[in-house]
């Protein structure tokens, strides 16, 4: 993935307003400052009007990046939080790369982790040149100058940062600016620091891509194959002629469907209803869900790959067989849709010599060159205007830039001069693929006569998310897609004989990472299985886990730490009334450690989720309240899915149409969520995803504690569990 960093995209974005001082990094990673940023792209900008802005290289899907990156700069710059502005960076792979990926993009809960030093250094460098400029202006020693809430002071002299910006723009920032020590932090770790995006998101002014309107724009929806992998052979749009506002319908050149154009969204949707199409379904998925599950199960007998190099599947199986006790279970996980509240959409408009794409852009590093390729433009003829994204949960981060390519093809079909807004309806979203892969696990665990684990034979069948994408080189090793086994093969439990078999399921159905990726199924299988082993051992579930984490390595210590904290805060071990139960799960993902205890009650056999207690160790807590919000949201996202969500197929066609068939978590589903953050001075790690993995198994274990029922097939409502 390569394309040229462009002056034009820079001018269109970060420096569009006149700047007195910009500070950032050159492509070589050297801090640079000045007035225009022509040779580099800035992270900090002070306008001629004195406004201090932080340029945000990641997109904001609700995870709090804008607040987080602004905090890092404001901390070191000692800027005024209330007046600090944010701007999304232009698409520029070279200069606004995610340092964890080497390309611009957001994912894997990396935004704060990869930006932590970069944004702090930019803030500190800006502070240094502003102080130096003030020292010269006032004729005082730089050491006498303090900065607080955006105001420079020395003796009786004071000035806002903006007043020194022009002079500071002529100075060279220090190569290694002095950063604050943690005990001097005022904003990092501040409990009541408020989000930067709250105001615009509570008065209707926050702009999402679906809100973008440019002059002359037409609206497009796409009629797609009813089965994954089908190709358009013909269509008949005569029925749409009477639809008011219908413009025209044209076949997409890639055979994926019919682009239907209207003068407004409703006209396009109505016209599509009136169009019929014929499809070549020879290579399309035609199975039903039951058959697909059976095909996964069949793959478990002879795993294609062994995901733990030093172990042997047959030998582990023999150890389990020879054990005093054997515990086994088969876990079924359905396909899941991300269903972000803002359905997928994208606007493309012509510019003087190319196009501008308005998008809640999660992977501009991929979308930018992909759009250029589709439209046969040079990279510097494409701009991406990143706007707020109404959720993603992974859906906006495809290797194919699927919906942006649809928009580009639709734009091209109209001749490339008419702005086009492509909109997906909720029906398109649920039937549109790119699901969390279906997965089936078979796990057999042995215990000796002292109730100590002897062996763990774990087998997984799932479609690979990564194979066939540009990420294959980084994330597939010896044929093993790490995202299919993560959370099992790298478990930190002390298990004597431990094998993990993997088989890839094949289907034309596109699959994708879904908030927490492989951990969404692996944590469930691991943590329910450990609970079953604890039960067989006659041990307390928390004590049993602590026993498996007592080896003393750092991961085990941090997992034990959150486990103990969650147990303590939840009242683990205290007696509960009849019909109530608590369940626990602990899991590491995205370098963070999370334990959750779910407490449920039962009424006439139906389950009510009373409370979730969460403990998280994510290193330095940059924005504690954002971290709590991400845990709350991650827990809700995970619990809602395991309760009742599944995408299923009948003869290859998706059964679910809209939210009534794919019911999201509702406000009445969870009583209370309490989050506790472990104090830490370690480097910050992920928070967007790690709250999700333990939530499902903790609920399952709580249901077992309350009712005696083990739920190993999801969703729960399709497998014998009723909720209040």
């Amino acid at each position: 993935m390569t394309f040229q960093a462009t002056r034009r995209s820079f001018l269109a974005g970060a420096a569009a307003s006149s700047a007195a001082l910009v500070v950032g990094f050159t492509p070589a990673g050297v801090l640079a400052g000045g007035h225009s940023g022509a040779q580099f792209n800035p992270f900090v900008k002070i306008g001629t009007d004195g406004t201090v802005s932080v340029i945000i290289k990641h997109f904001e899907m609700g995870q709090g990046t804008t607040t987080g990156l602004a905090t890092l700069v404001a901390e070191e710059l000692d800027a005024d939080w209330e007046t600090l502005a944010i701007e999304f960076a232009p698409s520029d792979n070279e200069r606004y790369a995610n340092l964890a990926f080497g390309a611009q993009g957001t994912g894997g809960s990396t935004a704060i982790a990869n930006s932590y030093m970069q944004y702090r250094k930019a803030g500190a460098a800006a502070r240094a040149v502003l102080v130096e400029a003030a020292a010269k202006e006032w004729g005082v020693d730089a050491g006498s100058i303090t900065v607080e809430n955006g105001v420079l002071r020395s003796g009786d002299k004071s000035a806002p940062l903006g007043a020194m910006a022009a002079a500071a723009g002529k100075l060279t920032p220090p190569a290694e600016p002095v950063l604050k020590s943690a005990d001097a932090f005022k904003l990092i770790g501040k409990e009541d620091l408020r989000r930067k995006d709250s105001h615009a998101k509570t008065n209707g002014t926050a702009q999402f891509a679906i809100d973008v309107k440019v002059p002359g724009m037409v609206y497009a929806v796409i009629l797609r194959s009813p089965r994954f992998g089908g190709m358009l052979t013909s269509f008949d749009a005569s029925g749409a002629a009477d639809v008011a506002g219908f413009i025209e319908a044209k076949a997409l050149p890639n055979g994926a469907g019919v682009a239907v154009f209207g003068k407004n969204t409703w006209a396009a949707i109505q016209a599509r209803e009136a169009i019929t199409a014929e499809w070549d379904l020879a290579n399309a998925e035609s199975r039903s869900t039951d058959q697909m599950i059976a095909d996964h199960v069949a793959l478990l007998d002879e795993p294609e790959f062994q995901a733990r190099k030093d172990s042997d599947i047959a030998a582990t199986g023999s150890i389990v067989d020879a054990s005093a006790k054997t515990v086994e279970a088969e876990f079924h996980f359905p396909n899941l849709a991300h269903a972000p509240m803002e359905t997928l959409n994208c606007v493309i408009e012509p510019t003087a010599n190319g196009v501008r794409v308005h998008d809640g852009s999660q992977f501009p590093g991929i979308t930018h060159p992909t759009i250029a390729g589709v439209l046969q433009l040079q990279a510097d003829q494409v701009e991406i205007n990143t706007v707020y994204a109404g959720g993603s949960f992974g859906r906006r981060a495809t290797a194919t830039s699927d919906y942006q390519v649809e928009a580009a093809l639709a734009f091209q079909l109209l001749g490339g001069q008419t702005p086009v807004k492509l909109v997906w309806t909720r029906e398109d979203d649920l039937a549109g693929g790119y699901y969390r892969p279906m997965a089936v696990h078979r796990v057999r665990v042995g215990l000796d006569d002292k109730n100590t684990l002897t062996g763990w034979d774990h087998r997984i069948a799932a479609k690979s998310i990564i194979k066939g994408t540009p990420f294959e080189g980084a994330l597939v090793e010896d044929g093993i897609d790490h995202t299919s086994v993560e959370g099992v093969s790298d478990s930190h439990y002390a298990i004597p004989a431990f094998s993990v078999g993997l088989s890839d399921f094949q289907s034309p159905m596109p699959v994708l990472w879904w908030r927490a990726v492989g951990h969404t199924h692996t944590a469930y299988a691991m943590e329910v299985m450990v609970d079953m082993a604890a039960e067989a051992a006659g041990a307390d579930p928390v004590e049993f886990r602590l026993g498996l984490l007592s080896g003393g390595d750092k991961d085990q210590q941090r997992l034990s730490g959150v486990l103990k904290l969650a147990a303590e805060k939840s009242g683990w071990g205290e007696a509960l009334p009849e019909g109530r139960g608590r369940g626990v799960a602990v899991h590491k993902s995205f370098n963070s450690y999370v334990a959750e205890v779910v407490e449920v009650s039962t009424q006439d056999g139906a389950v009510k989720i009373e409370k979730v207690t969460c403990a998280v160790d994510c290193g330095t807590a940059v924005n504690p309240d954002v971290i709590k919000a991400q845990m709350e949201g991650g827990i809700g996202f995970g619990i809602g899915a395991v309760m009742r969500d599944a995408i299923t197929l009948t003869d290859g066609e998706v059964d679910q149409s809209n939210f009534p068939d794919y019911e999201p978590l509702r406000i009445n589903d969870i009583g209370a969520i309490e989050v506790h953050i472990v104090p830490s001075s370690e480097a910050p790690t992920g928070v967007g995803e790690p709250g999700t993995p333990p939530s499902g198994p903790a609920l399952a274990n709580a249901i077992h504690a309350a009712t005696g029922q083990r739920v190993t097939k999801l969703p729960m409502t399709a497998n014998g569990i009723e909720f209040v």
Binding site: Q63, S198, P340, G391, R426, I635, F637, I667
Partner: protein, 153 residues
């Protein structure tokens, strides 16, 4: 056909086909994009507006049926309840992606209008039609209590 709507106290003439959902008239014709599309079948609440003071799903409200009514959108809310709700939403940082929050706020105002001091059960019952995929529900509940407290103060 030409239809005259009263939105946020202003008369607006629009040209729209009968049967067009009010949602798309607000968004595509009148550029009032604070009201969001989420499902189109009144199952998520993102499109909630007030019609004659009642929270209503604009995705299933035909534009012609809204002609003789007073329509209020997120852009036009004001008054003691609305201000308390918006302030509580900000004080508690309810939002994440924010996409559903216009609808959440419109429903919360409707709830507090009917029930100035709601219990958790009142809130759960009234707000259960407003989906939030970020699962900000915990804070929505807290913010509604907070707003109720602000109005008493």
């Amino acid at each position: 056909m030409s239809i005259t709507l009263t939105i946020n106290g202003e008369r607006r003439d629009v040209d729209a086909e009968p049967g067009t959902p009010l949602l798309w008239v607000l968004r595509d014709e009148l550029d009032m994009t604070g009201t969001k599309f989420g499902c189109g079948v009144a199952a998520c609440g993102a499109c909630t507006v007030h019609i004659d003071g009642q929270p209503t799903r604009s995705c299933l409200t035909f534009v012609e049926d809204a002609a003789e009514t007073e329509i209020t959108t997120i852009e036009g809310i004001n008054g003691k309840i609305a201000e308390a709700v918006q302030q509580s939403w900000r004080d508690l940082d309810v939002v994440q992606c924010g996409y559903c929050q216009s609808g959440q706020i419109m429903s919360a105002i409707g709830l507090l209008n009917e029930t100035p001091n709601p219990t958790d059960a009142d809130i759960d019952a009234y707000m259960s039609g407003n989906a939030c995929r970020c699962a900000t529900y915990q804070r929505i509940r807290a913010a509604i209590h907070d707003a109720a407290g602000k109005m008493e103060a």
